[in-house]
């Protein structure tokens, strides 16, 4: 008894108590509301089940259906539209952010204007664009002002060749500002002295961007790209609100929603969710590797890549040696 008491009174005990005390609540919340439902979902993906009624274990059948269903495969292809949109969006956001972080007249106003769409609720944006694209409404009228013939204009949402681009544009319009603001924030943190030094060395603006700004904000660029790719794979609001996912615009999430709620195939929908998770993990991994390759020179300063690698190897080897030593020590202590 007194041993326990003295443990809790000791510095070590107090520290353990505080650590446990502070982390137990968030940990429980995390486990109960994030990981437990997630594990349940993985379990569901092996069942043939509806919300109510009996469940039947079917093994990997849902995953097989997943690859055989034309609807689902088609919806994944649609993500490519959104990914292309995301690449363009990030490039333009980066471009605007670079310009706006230099001295620009009314820069604040432009930042505000470009950021503004992000503040609007996604559903509201859906309705805005529904009317924007309606035959003879906003877009058609504006285009007819600048000389387009109303008759020759395409049906923005009806024509299956362009309706996905129309939808991609609406999400581009929304998220451009957010990307840009994140970039501006990162660029602000770059030491201004670097620009001066670069200018003295005769670097032009593009070179400054390439060799100073881009390497300094690569974390934010990576983050934005990960978010955009994840967002492309899970595009939902625009196709759901504007076209209800019909007419060849059903993205993965819209199809998943239909399968889970209209068809009530909870098992298949769970399998889709797990599959999407795997796809996102793979995309993130590929993108990480790609960036490692692109920015391989960023932190090397003068030393060559080879030298850097050699040094890293050496460091690793050292670390290993130290660890091994510690292990041996511990073992020795245990023996005593």
């Amino acid at each position: 008894m007194s041993k326990i008491q003295s443990f809790f009174k000791s510095k070590k005990g107090q520290r353990a108590l505080i650590i446990v005390g502070f982390s137990i609540i968030p940990l429980i919340l995390l486990l109960v509301f994030t990981y437990y439902p997630f594990l349940e979902m993985i379990k569901f993906s092996f069942y043939n089940m509806r919300y109510a009624g009996a469940r039947k274990f079917v093994g990997f059948k849902n995953y097989i259906t997943l690859f055989n269903k034309r609807e689902i495969a088609g919806s994944l292809v649609l993500s490519l539209y959104y990914m292309v949109g995301a690449v363009i969006q990030i490039s333009i956001a980066l471009y605007l952010a670079t310009i706006l972080s230099m001295k620009v007249r009314m820069g604040g106003l432009f930042k505000g204007l470009i950021f503004f769409p992000f503040l609007i609720n996604g559903i509201a944006i859906g309705f805005i664009f529904k009317f924007f694209y309606t035959r003879g409404f906003v877009l058609d009228t504006v285009l007819s002002w600048i000389g387009f013939n109303m008759e020759t204009l395409p049906y923005w949402l009806k024509d299956q060749a362009i309706n996905n681009w129309s939808l991609v544009y609406s999400s581009f319009w929304k998220y451009l500002g957010q990307n840009m603001v994140l970039f501006i924030g990162a660029i602000m943190s770059v030491d201004a002295a670097l620009y001066e030094a670069a200018e003295l060395d005769g670097a032009n603006k593009f070179q400054q961007f390439r060799y100073i700004i881009l390497p300094s904000i690569k974390t934010i660029v990576t983050l934005n790209i990960i978010l955009s790719i994840t967002g492309s794979l899970s595009a939902f609001e625009a196709p759901y609100v504007i076209t209800s996912g019909n007419n060849g615009t059903g993205t993965f999430f819209v199809v998943m929603n239909k399968i889970a709620h209209t068809d009530q195939k909870v098992g298949l929908a769970s399998a889709m969710a797990v599959f999407l998770l795997v796809v996102i993990l793979i995309c993130t991994l590929i993108q990480k590797l790609l960036f490692k390759y692109i920015f391989r020179n960023a932190n090397t300063d003068d030393e060559s890549l080879k030298a850097k690698k050699a040094r890293e190897k050496e460091a690793k080897a050292k670390l290993k040696a130290i660890k091994a030593e510690q292990k041996a020590l511990k073992a020795a202590k245990g023996g005593n």
């Binding site: 509806r50 109510a52 009624g53 529904k130 009317f131 694209y133 309606t134 035959r135 409404f137 049906y155 949402l157 009806k158 299956q160 309706n163 076209t243 209800s244 996912g245 019909n246 007419n247 060849g248 239909k258 399968i259 209209t262 068809d263 009530q264 195939k265």
Partner: protein
């Protein structure tokens, strides 16, 4: 230090208060009418009278209630959950809940009726049902039939109740009836009478060909009028097409629960202009012939009501519930008509009819409230005129008062067909087949109808190809679920 402690405490208090505020509901509004107090002595008396009127086995029955005689001395308060929030507002232009309750209290002054309106009824009602003290009467939401008895009181046997009430099959399980319909609708087509007249369509079309010809006549008369508005963009409106394929297109009350479930290739062309095939074919042909709106992808539900009222739209395929909305959307209420679906089976037209929401009585209420609820439900059915006022078909079996909007149905000698209840032991088959086939017949299967419009517009598939695919997925679903298929 002390200050910090006080701060922390008050912060905690504020946070707790804000959490509590989150819990309180603000979407519901309650209305109380009639006598407010129920004294304990009276309540006990009431319980005694309940026992008298209960039938031999101790359960209350719909048939045993005689309005004006049974339970006139009851004093209690019953609570009703309703989806009709509009009927709680003062500016409702029909008979409001307050009017009904007032009329009810003339006969039963002791029974206080509280009506609670729920905006998102279909979802919220299911949640409320899980907590047991939701009230005494609710509109039965989408529960599984097998669970009916755990939530709701039986009104009596199927035989007894269906002798007094129409359309009871929806909530009948194991021979017991758990729901009395509030009102019932028949399936037809909303149309603008004036436009039809001006376009020279004097006789209402009776076959798909005549209907397409009528649409063409409208287009020829004035190309700015949309002959058939699909309401494609609203999406949920497309599911309405499923309601016509059963009794209305075949004249068979057994179609949904037998011919569809057990039939081989139920979407094949029967060759005589009837059946599911020809219902959807009307849509395909109309779109292919350019008889629908120019850009279906940007249709707007709210403005379509005004457009049909003003004569800019000739027809819309929707249930009769839509008629009052179309009439109220402009100044030309008299122009809006409702006509039978243009399919004739052996020289006769049919219309599928079915109940709207049903009254269900809480099985966990005490006997006094159960009896009071039973009285209220019977009164709503037999004396309130509710169904007639709401433009529905009569619910009480001896009621022959059909609203004006069904005039065209009466003129055409339309027979109303009510779907038979599911074959015993097969109550869940339809759900399973819908789920496996993804067609979701009468269950929010809007996408398949949307696909018909898309394919007709782009001509990417012929109608026969679409129906073949449906037949194939249906057959596959029948195999997976293990349904016996009649050849």
């Amino acid at each position: 230090m002390k200050f910090k402690k006080v701060m922390a405490l008050s912060m905690a208090a504020v946070m707790a208060a804000s959490l509590a505020a989150c819990g309180s509901s603000d979407t519901t509004d309650t209305q109380t009418t009639g006598a407010e107090t129920a004294e304990t002595t009276e309540a006990t008396e009431a319980t005694e009278t309940t026992e008298d009127s209960a039938s031999a086995d101790g359960s209350l029955q719909y048939k045993d209630v005689v309005l004006g005689e049974t339970g006139t001395d009851i004093t209690t308060t019953i609570k009703v959950l309703s989806h009709r929030t509009d009927m709680l507002t003062d500016d409702y232009n029909g008979t409001s809940w307050a009017d009904y309750v007032a009329a009810f209290n003339e006969q039963y002054p002791g029974i206080t009726v509280e009506i609670e309106g729920i905006t998102d009824y279909a979802n919220d009602a299911l949640l409320r049902l899980q907590g047991e003290d939701w009230g005494d009467i609710m509109m039965i939401p989408a529960v599984t039939k097998a669970d009916l008895a755990t939530y709701f009181m039986s009104y009596g046997t199927e035989e007894d109740v269906s002798a007094l009430v129409n359309y009871t099959t929806n909530w009948t399980y194991n021979g017991e009836v758990y729901g009395i319909p509030t009102t019932a609708n028949a399936q037809g087509i909303v149309y603008n009478k004036r436009v039809f007249e001006e376009a020279g369509v004097t006789e209402l079309p009776k076959t798909p060909e005549e209907f397409i010809a009528a649409l063409q006549a409208v287009k020829d008369y004035d190309s700015s009028i949309v002959p058939l508005y699909t309401n494609y963009a609203a999406n949920w409106t497309l599911g309405a097409w499923d309601a016509y394929i059963s009794g209305g297109a075949t004249g068979l009350s057994s179609w949904t629960n037998d011919s569809l479930i057990h039939g081989s290739n139920p979407f094949a062309d029967p060759g005589d202009g009837t059946g599911a095939y020809n219902v959807y074919k009307i849509l395909y042909d109309a779109v292919a012939a350019g008889l629908t709106e120019d850009d279906f992808s940007t249709t707007d539900w709210e403005s379509s009501k005004t457009m049909i009222n003003n004569g800019e739209i000739a027809t819309m395929v929707l249930g009769s519930w839509a008629v009052p909305q179309m009439q109220g959307a402009g100044e030309n209420a008299d122009d809006i008509g409702y006509m039978p679906f243009p399919i004739t089976v052996d020289g006769k037209q049919y219309a599928a009819a079915g109940p709207d929401y049903n009254f269900g009585i809480n099985v966990n209420s005490d006997d006094t409230n159960k009896l009071a609820s039973l009285i209220f439900v019977k009164w709503m059915t037999e004396e309130s005129g509710f169904s007639y006022n709401e433009g529905g078909l009569p619910i009480a079996a001896d009621d022959t008062n059909v609203p004006d909007i069904y005039q065209a149905f009466t003129d055409a000698g339309v027979t109303y067909v009510v779907d038979d209840p599911a074959i015993e032991g097969e109550e869940d088959l339809m759900n399973e087949l819908n789920s496996e086939s993804s067609l979701n017949i009468n269950n929010g299967g809007n996408d398949k109808v949307a696909a018909i419009i898309e394919d007709a517009s782009t001509q990417s598939r012929t109608f026969d190809e679409i129906m073949e695919e449906w037949n194939a997925t249906w057959t596959e679903a029948q195999e997976i679920v293990g349904v016996t298929v009649n050849e």
